[in-house]
Symmetry: C2
Subunit: 114 residues, 2 copies
């Protein structure tokens, strides 16, 4: 019954965003493309460590990389965060509805007390 | 220089959302509070397995639980996804700016070709 599922794009996007170094990479790439080495230096981590983070972002579709000579150029990938945004908006609506429900409940209670 | 950092609320929120079972729990709680057992059944997992998922959501502030007798009641937690939403909006703006940049570049190229 309970099969192992492959990670969906939404799972991968949220997992990729759960790390401050990876969010920092996206911020830096917002200013323009950069090599893995150029990303590693300000983050204070090794090129190998940075390459791993970049791969997570690449698998999630948030970053696209291209091998140019000896370096790997990175840039922002396809707009895959639309689904993540839609999901969070949905949660916010659920949350607001919960508050509305409580509000209605207390209004009702107040009515009964009269 | 490179200290081990504690997970920030934003890290925890994104990590919590990276699993379809956990997103399903939030959706179900949008309809009203439920016990861990009531959440486990439709998800097709054990109560112990569900309790682990609930704990991840609770640590991220997305779910609040309360022990009532022998059961643990769960409901949607504080609105902690505002930061996650703000972060994704920020990324979308970076992405749009990248497209604007490309557009400006091609317009410039076109001008040079004339």
């Amino acid at each position: 019954m309970n099969h192992m599922v492959h990670q969906s794009p939404l799972d991968e996007a949220f997992a990729a965003l759960s790390d401050p170094t990876r969010r920092g990479i996206l911020t830096q790439l917002g200013d323009g493309p950069a090599t893995v080495g150029e990303l590693a230096q300000p983050a204070g981590i090794t090129v190998t460590g940075m390459a791993k983070h970049v791969r997570v972002l690449e698998n999630a579709g948030l970053v696209v990389t291209e091998k140019i000579g000896r370096t790997r150029q990175c840039r922002l990938g396809a707009e895959r965060l639309d689904d993540a945004m839609a999901w969070i908006s949905f949660y916010q609506r659920l949350w607001e509805r919960r508050l509305d429900g409580l509000d209605a409940y207390f209004t009702l209670q107040k009515g009964h007390e009269k």
